[in-house]
């Protein structure tokens, strides 16, 4: 074709060029016309802008992208750049709707004539300040208490801890994390001298054997489970061992399932160590240079440890645990001989009487076999709440603790914190406060007169809850929650409405020592205030305004990260600016240029490990980790003729904790957790048919549930969820607790089941 200037259509070459140019220009403007929907595939939910955030629910701490339109959260999706690789579970997806629940508390309420009635903020805060002041002046600081949560942001927990311990002068500062991760804390501290896991989520990409004990990971931490499964999908030789009394969804995917009787973990782990010793699966260098052995307060030698373990033959343990010796041996072989073994555990281990023992024995198995400190080889506890690690364990929002692993009982630790908080020496009371079960006992006795409950629901979650509800009834109870009503607001004298999730700003620490920033994206509804604002106002009204000088989330964080630099937790380098940019940062992270620490106690990787060997257990004076000689004890709540079954409690995928949030989410509220799993044998004995209403009875109380006949549970065992407020399983559970961690043993009590007569 020739390009003659006098082409038939009359266009010159220049005109053609101009026309094309103008068309291209117009095409570029097309998006401005709103016609790009004709051009690009559109989202079903239109979103003005996407913002980086973190899921509100469990301790996994999944990164989310939050779509906001007109000051409203309209969509939530997984963040491709976060550790969850864009995945979210069904609860994470539901965060889209949680802010707009009908059950939101919108304004302050004060109980008048037995009824909660709407009040102004000033009225409510005046009343609270007056009652707290009166109580402190008449009965001393120990007559007031704070009961917080692993869901409060770090800034909020930190401010409460400082206000109560260094301001008011009481150590009655507790948190629901006592009922969740306290045993992991005591376990790690006993072994390594410092709390928090030595490994990280990334280890799941390298492990060749997973030892999952006391965790229904598939349902309770689905995103971590997917990562475990990814490892198995890409490396089919990867072995998964699951220790769980029930054949959970997790156990069904296991290569080896050990359905032990609840509370017999110590026997199992000791027997596995027996096999390690018998077959010489022991890392000699580790034993000689990096470990010490202890029995209570006394030191022991490795030979003495071997003699202690000699009693726990697989045959003996198999009888205690209700499994076969062959399975114990196989588990031990798989554990010891893999290239890298990773243990995962959560409430199944933590919520039992020998929880601390079980925790430290799992760590001991890793240390003895040398499955420690390499990618994929680590003990790793999973956390249940988004900020139990950051806000409670790191901040020390517990009655025996001070920030960064310090203890009330240690005078040097108290002095350090008094100096850092710039309060006079002796300001912090030397007497540890009441731990959770004791605290609610003290409310009942009248020793504690006023209690501020924030972001948690003890009216439902305490074990043997009926006994402690009286205490809540009796005391002056202030309940700060985003939802109303809850089982706890029934007993509240004042209810304050709190902001939820991205209605406020804050930092949380998830299960692998990773600090995240939650941005404030939308304004809270009604008269709702953030928990931090409420605490700051309370401090002002109680005359501690000077102490609580940091009043914005950023200021509190800056104060806190600088304080952390005086400890082995050092995360001074995790600045707000970095948090805004990064998908979380793992401490220790002492400087702004430090990338964060994936694995602890390794010289060269962990900035706190200054030694030169393979490991440096700097949490201990002798720089050696401790292996404890632990013995299986008899159950606290033994079988009786009238209570022939063991009750175990747990969760399901679709709900979270007491369902205050998930119970009103449109996608989740239809899923009923009110059932009792019972084995066909036991159902036959009790003459119960599937779907029958049954009464579960213990020495403490009874609850009605629907029978679900299933072989998921073993004969002799029944299972119920801890979710529903319509049927409180905690009226039945036992309030006995681990003597070290003071964490209640929700996972085992004896019960009887009978058919409800019509």
């Amino acid at each position: 074709m020739s390009h003659k200037p006098d082409a038939p259509n009359g266009l010159t070459r220049r005109e053609l060029g101009r026309l094309l140019g103008v068309s291209a220009g117009l095409a570029c403007l097309a998006p401005l016309t709103g016609c790009n929907s004709l051009w690009e595939r559109q989202s079903v939910i239109p979103v003005d802008g996407w913002h980086k955030g973190v899921c509100r629910f469990c301790g996994t701490g999944c990164g989310v992208m939050i779509g906001v339109t007109n000051n409203k959260v309209v969509d939530v999706k997984g963040d491709d750049e976060a550790h969850n690789r864009g995945r979210l579970c069904i609860k994470g997806l539901a965060t889209r709707d949680i802010l707009y629940s009908e059950d939101r508390a919108l304004y302050p309420m004060i109980r008048k004539d037995g009824e909660l009635q709407r009040a102004s903020w000033d009225e409510a805060m005046t009343l609270i300040a007056q009652r707290f002041r009166e109580s402190i002046e008449t009965h001393g600081p120990a007559s007031v208490a704070f009961y917080g949560s692993g869901q409060l942001y770090t800034q909020e927990s930190y401010t409460a801890n400082k206000l109560f311990k260094a301001g008011i002068g009481t150590n009655n500062v507790e948190s629901n994390a006592r009922m969740c991760m306290a045993s992991a804390t005591t376990g790690y501290t006993a072994t390594f001298g410092k709390d928090e896991p030595p490994g990280c989520y990334e280890d799941m990409d390298y492990a060749d054997c997973f030892f999952i004990t006391g965790s229904n990971t598939l349902e309770c931490h689905p995103i971590l489970w997917e990562r475990v499964r990814d490892r198995k999908r890409s490396h089919p030789g990867t072995k998964i061992i699951v220790v769980d009394p029930r054949k959970t969804f997790t156990a069904r995917h296991a290569d080896l399932h050990l359905p032990i009787h609840p509370g017999t973990d110590v026997s199992l782990y000791n027997a596995m160590i027996y096999v390690f010793l018998q077959h010489n699966f022991i890392d000699r260098d580790m034993v000689e240079n990096y470990l010490t052995f202890k029995d209570g307060e006394e030191s022991r030698t490795f030979e003495e440890f071997k003699r202690h373990i000699a009693k726990y033959t697989p045959e003996a343990a198999a009888k205690t645990c209700g499994i076969t010796p062959r399975d114990i041996r196989e588990a031990a072989f798989l554990f010891a001989t893999s290239k890298a073994t990773m243990s995962l555990w959560t409430m199944g281990l933590n919520q039992q009487v020998q929880a601390t023992h079980s925790n430290r024995l799992v760590s001991a198995m890793h240390l003895l076999t040398g499955h420690f400190g390499r990618p994929g080889a680590t003990p790793f506890s999973i956390s249940g709440q988004p900020n139990a690690c950051g806000g409670v364990r790191d901040v020390g929002t517990l009655s025996h603790a001070l920030p960064n692993g310090r203890l009330i009982a240690n005078p040097k630790h108290r002095e350090e914190m008094e100096d850092l908080w710039k309060v006079p020496r002796g300001r912090i009371s030397p007497k540890p406060g009441y731990h959770t079960v004791q605290l609610f006992e003290a409310l009942g006795r009248g020793d504690v007169k006023c209690c501020l409950v924030m972001c948690t629901n003890p009216g439902q979650t305490l074990p043997n809850v009926t006994a402690y509800r009286q205490g809540m009834e009796k005391a002056f109870l202030v309940v700060v929650d985003a939802f109303y009503p809850t089982e706890t607001t029934k007993f509240a004298d004042v209810v304050l409405p709190a902001a939820l999730w991205v209605e406020k700003e804050g930092v949380t620490g998830n299960g692998d020592r990773r600090y995240h920033l939650y941005p404030k994206l939308v304004s809270p509804p009604g008269e709702v205030k953030s928990d931090l604002a409420i605490l700051v106002e309370l401090a002002d009204r109680l005359g501690h305004g000077d102490l609580i000088s940091a009043r914005t989330p950023k200021d509190v964080w800056d104060e806190w990260r600088k304080i952390s630099s005086h400890s082995a937790y050092n995360f001074e380098g995790i600045t707000y600016e970095r948090l805004q940019k990064e998908r979380g940062l793992q401490w220790p992270c002492p400087t702004e240029s430090h990338p964060g620490t994936k694995r602890r106690y390794l010289p060269g990787q962990d900035p706190m490990a200054t030694g030169s060997g393979r490991f440096d257990f700097y949490g201990k004076h002798d720089r050696r980790a401790t292996i404890w000689l632990d013995r299986q004890e008899e159950p606290v709540d033994p079988y009786a003729d009238e209570f022939p079954l063991i009750l175990n409690t747990g969760r399901i995928l679709e709900h979270w904790h007491t369902m205050t949030i998930t119970g009103s989410a449109p996608t989740l509220k239809g899923i009923q957790p009110d059932y009792l799993e019972i084995h066909p044998y036991d159902a036959y004995q009790a003459e119960v048919k599937d779907g029958d209403p049954v009464i579960v009875k213990s020495r403490r109380g009874e609850v009605e549930l629907r029978a679900r006949i299933t072989e998921i549970v073993r004969p002799g065992m029944v299972f119920a969820t801890m979710h529903s407020c319509r049927h409180l399983i905690n009226q039945v559970t036992h309030d006995v607790y681990d003597p070290f961690s003071k964490e209640p043993a929700f996972k085992r009590c004896v019960v009887a089941v009978r058919r409800k007569s019509a």
Binding site: R41, R87, I90, Y206, L668
Partner: protein, 250 residues
Amino acid sequence: MMHHDRSYGRPLSLLVAFLAGIWLTGTTAWAYEAHDAVSDVDVFRGLGIAASVAGILLLIFVQYVYRKRIRHGTYHRLLLVGVFLLPVTATWSTTTTVMEGTKMVQACASCHVMDPFVNDMKNQSSPTLAARHYRNNWIAKDQCYACHVTYGVTGTLAGKRDGFRHWLHYVTDTYPDPIQYVGSYSNSNCLSCHRGTNKWERVKSHQALLGELSADRIACITCHGPPHPLPDERAAAAANRTALVVKPRE
């Protein structure tokens, strides 16, 4: 009359012989190769080639060999067949070939932007959804198309529009690397196979989310993904110019 009939019949018999030849070649190919060796695309391509060649031959024969020997009306009708009908057949065949051809994995792999996706899908140890569907033979053929059904002849207009947009961006080099999926993915691609299976039905969450899933307000891949390597993994693979190995494990 006989003269006319014979001269009219000869080009037709030639055409029939030619088509039969093509057909035979095709059947021979079927006979010798594996059952999936001849796809729809091959058939359409064969028809198109046959129609084009037949059209050209017809024109040549009619114009230079038979013009004098046939009636004027027949001449015009044969020209019409050669000039119009056969080219239309060829055009239809070409379009269909392209439309069917783009369903094949090779078609996707021909654009280097797709390399990390296709390489990952064929990576035996990748945990992505695409790779798992591929290596477990959950989808027999056209593995890309099975989950991206908007293209093909029967696909939606939006699919063609997206294809055109992708092509424009590709040839003008104006696409962001790594590329990002825009808008909502249609869950019906997943549900068409999975819904109704025991495994799917017994998960309570699926029932609870059915409305949201059907409306694409929640994506299946949010819980079960990622379907392909993530943008940063693809970028790393592109930078190294290597086949994509999802993560440096071990």
